[in-house]
Amino acid sequence: MAAVSKILKHAAVAVALIAATASLKARTTSESGADLPPSREALRRTAVALAEAGQVGRDAVRPQRIISLVPATTEMLFAMGAGNRIAGVSDYDRFPPEVSRLPKVGGLLDPNVERLISLKPDLVIVYDTQTDLKQQLDRARIPIFRYAHRGLPDITETMRSLGDRVGSKAEAEAAASRMESQLAAVRTRVAGRPRPATLLIFGRDPGALRHIDASGGLGFLHDVLELAGGRDVLGDLKQQSVDVSTEMVLRRAPEVILELHYGESLKTERLDDERNVWKALPSVPAVKNNRVYLLRGDEFVVPGPRIVMAAERFARTLHPEVYAR
């Protein structure tokens, strides 16, 4: 029995090696691979991965058809040069532009399992909360990588373990360290500055101070705000998002209000009107001192490599004097 399984394992390794070489060749000939030079280094890594595979089973074979149901991990894969191994993404993926050409397989609440399996993935990145999907993929013997939304330090953490999992350890390490040093640079730049009490708003009704949803003391955006030299005015409320009443805004008296707007939700000609909505609460220092800012961009919703941009935009907004110098 042992001998048979050994032979089978060797056969599997051989097949995988052929497949990997073939795909590597394909990648060399297609011009799409801006992310990874088809070097001897890549070959070596494949070989290493395959060697490991011989010992730890087929899961560890360098995945070639990755499906990412999480926009953040899609961006991480591109950042570590594994973008060309992505076979499918979620409906919510917008970045980088290359994802527009990839098959879409649903989202957090409505993954399209049939389509997903038909794409023959050898690794699927799922949200850890997608219990049903995890079971279905298990039954189909498709390996998964589980992702959970947490704080800012977890972004680079996830990046490293993902890099490890997809056989791009060195590139992931490089990208993660680069992010960390960029974030540290933002932190250093605003260090020692007074930290304005900041209300960070994720959304509200257009044209009204209704259904205000803001950052509490948990989550990556709270962490980014604190890193960029702000003090979260709702930091004592240990939840990611807080339903904020106008009474709470008045009482907590934020010195800065940062409103995030995603996608096409806020048109340029409406910017002033939306800012003026806050004049209904004139005692709020942010309103009095004209420090209500409306920031537009998708980098705020995706806890991936672009979070560095988000941190820089927060820091510039909170501490314009530092960036003016």
Binding site: Y92, G107, L108, D110, F202, G203, D205, P206, G207, A208, L209, R210, H211, D213, L237, S241, V242, D243, S245, T246, E247, M248, L250, R251, A253, Y262, G263, E264, S265, K267, R270, A280, L281, P282, S283, K288, V301
Partner: protein, 344 residues
């Protein structure tokens, strides 16, 4: 002579009971309106609120009172009484104790309007009223048109039960369309849709109140014509017609008024559940079935009930606040059960 006096006696008795009802429920509603703005998730001092020496722009307590709390209490009063009245009218009209403002789909129509506005990021406003409540009110009108069409079809000989089933079907259909619109929404919009559906009275300004007051007052005027008719209709159409009531016309007034009130209430506060279902029952347990008493008492009690629920919603887990729709259901359900079983 003695006969005339005897005939007057019940009328006088009703007047006295009406006076007592208005006085007691009116006191309750007024007390709620006056006391609720004083309490909240944070303390305020009335002396500071009315202190003229501090300019309004710097007076936090005054802004909390005038911007955060008073509009909110007024919204609760308007929404509570509109939903309660609509509930009374629907229950009598459909002769069904389970009927509520949600039954015929008007409230689902209003919700659909709001979901469309949120999901497709509609951005317009009219006289200080913004896209979401406006779209919601338009949605309630769409549902009203369908229900009105159904009631017109009734004239050709269909029964109350058909109108009820038709309304329930419209409601289910609109709920399915709501689900479809939500399916098209992205993460952040879905989140906002869900929150909207839980109801919120934090209106934070007066224009939405004024705007909602227009359809609501039209509806209240309609309700004022109804007490006797509803008494007769809840007994039966034939006896109502025999007493010289234009049943069809009265039913149309009832239907349109109740729908207007519901649409305006949902547009203002979201679909606050339970108020329109249980307040009429609670009030009937207290004052009896006479609609001359039930209608005004429900309006006043509905206002007080929703103000009270909102007060709990904004203080129970302070500094955080709960959506008011959760409180109305959590309080209303058990209270209603208790009353039902205590009675039997």
């Amino acid at each position: 002579m003695t006969n005339a006096v005897a005939a007057d006696r019940p009328r006088v008795a009703v007047r006295i009971r009406l006076a007592w009802t208005l006085l007691s429920f009116g006191t309750l509603a007024l007390a709620a309106c006056l006391l609720a703005p004083l309490v909240g998730s944070t303390p305020i001092h009335l002396t500071t609120v009315f202190d003229r020496s501090v300019p309004y722009a710097d007076n936090i307590d005054a802004q909390i009172f005038w911007v955060a709390r008073l509009p909110r209490v007024l919204a609760a009063a308007m929404v509570g009484s509109s939903l309660a009245l609509a509930g009374v009218v629907f229950q009598a009209l459909l002769r069904n104790p389970l009927a509520s403002p949600d039954t015929l789909g008007v409230s689902a129509g209003a919700s659909l309007g709001a979901m469309v506005a949120i999901t497709f990021a509609l951005d317009f406003s009219l006289l200080g009223v913004t896209a979401v409540p406006l779209a919601s009110f338009v949605g309630s009108f769409g549902a009203l048109a369908i229900v009105y069409g159904l009631s017109a079809a009734r004239r050709r000989g269909t029964s109350t039960i058909v109108l009820l089933l038709g309304g329930v079907t419209v409601q289910a259909l609109l709920s399915a369309i709501i689900a479809f619109v939500q399916y098209l929404a992205d993460f952040t919009q879905t989140f906002r849709n869900v929150r909207w559906l839980m109801g919120s009275l934090d209106v934070a300004s007066y224009p939405p109140l004024v705007a909602a007051f227009i359809p609501m007052s039209l509806a209240w005027a309609g309700f004022a014509t109804l007490p006797r008719v509803l008494d007769l209709i809840s007994v039966g159409h034939e006896s109502a017609a025999a007493r010289g009531v234009d049943v069809e016309r009265s039913e149309r007034v009832a239907l349109v008024s109740a729908s207007l009130a519901t649409g305006a209430a949902v547009a203002l506060a979201g679909p606050v559940s339970f108020v329109g279902l249980i307040v009429p029952h609670l009030v009937r347990l207290m004052v009896g079935a006479d609609h001359r008493l039930v209608l005004p008492a429900s309006a006043l009690f509905g206002a007080a009930f929703l103000i009270g629920c909102d007060l709990i919603a904004r203080t129970i887990i302070a500094p955080l606040e709960l959506p008011v729709g959760i409180i109305t259901a959590i309080i209303g359900g058990p209270v209603f059960l208790w009353l039902l079983f205590r009675k039997s």
